[in-house]
């Protein structure tokens, strides 16, 4: 039973880490605002998977579900506001390149 839980944890942790690394790399490397948003989204998917697995392995699945629902609500709000910012940015510069933001005045 001990080996089962540990193996299960490492299996899920490995895949969640791979998903999170993909998102983080996309977020760090790209200059496109929309692709950055995709990176954040992929990163959140990895974190959500890890929270659910932590809940499953600790027997606190109800708490994990509650936290995941909170994460999803926050994720939607972030996406909607970021989409609004991207549209405003595109209206201003006709581009989604984040380097253009250097011209912004505070």
């Amino acid at each position: 039973m001990v080996a089962d839980a540990t193996t299960l944890f490492w299996l899920f942790f490995a895949f969640a880490a791979l998903v999170a690394i993909s998102g983080l790399y996309c977020f760090l490397v790209t200059f496109n605002l929309l692709r950055m948003l995709i990176g954040i989204e992929v990163l959140i998917k990895g974190v959500t998977l890890l929270v659910i697995v932590a809940g499953y392995l600790s027997g606190q699945m109800a708490l994990a579900q509650s936290i995941v629902i909170t994460v999803i609500v926050i994720e939607v709000v972030v996406m909607v506001v970021a989409a609004g910012i991207i549209l405003g940015f595109f209206n201003l510069y006709d581009s989604l390149n984040v380097k253009n933001a250097r011209n912004l005045k505070g």
Partner: protein
């Protein structure tokens, strides 16, 4: 266990596809696919309420938002798109290598944790946790939703002044 392994591998591959693909529409579809696979994993792990939220909100609403933004912002000529695609491929070529190294590292470096699976049925109900134990989270969620709504109102109010 084998089904879960296949689901996890498919989820990682679809996440990689969403990051690596050159077309934004394909990236949005891959992101929705990742959400659907995460939903199935959640359902199999015994988290049906979070799975329903993930399916309806992340695979549905966020995909719609993405596709709306993509359709409102894509106006580049084909040649420029092609040039940017080449540039992007050059920047993203290291990601598969990094993922393979990370997977190998995670496979070989395993810290002994001595975890035990919990007794089934000992946990609280999710409604009880959500409305009684974590009541303050609901307040936080409402505040976040209000902040998002006000943010969108201010953003679209500001962009209207440009006349575009």
């Amino acid at each position: 266990m084998k089904i879960m392994l296949v689901l996890l591998a498919l989820m990682a591959l679809s996440a990689l596809w969403s990051v690596m693909t050159s077309l934004f529409l394909r990236a949005a579809i891959a992101l929705a696919l990742t959400s659907v696979l995460l939903t199935v994993i959640m359902f199999r792990l015994g988290a049906p309420l979070a799975a329903v939220f993930e399916l309806s909100v992340c695979a549905g609403l966020i995909t719609v938002i993405f596709i709306s933004v993509i359709s409102l912002t894509q106006n580049l000529p084909f040649k420029e798109q092609l040039a940017r695609r080449q540039n992007r491929i050059a920047r993203f070529r290291y990601l598969p290598v990094i993922l393979i190294i990370a997977a190998a590292g995670l496979f070989f470096v395993r810290v002994p944790l001595n975890l035990t699976l919990p007794w089934p049925g000992a946990a609280l109900d999710v409604r009880q946790v959500m409305w009684e134990v974590r009541r303050f989270d609901i307040f936080g969620q409402i505040m976040v939703l209000l902040a998002g709504a006000f943010g969108v109102i201010i953003l679209f109010k500001g962009s209207g002044k440009n006349g575009r």
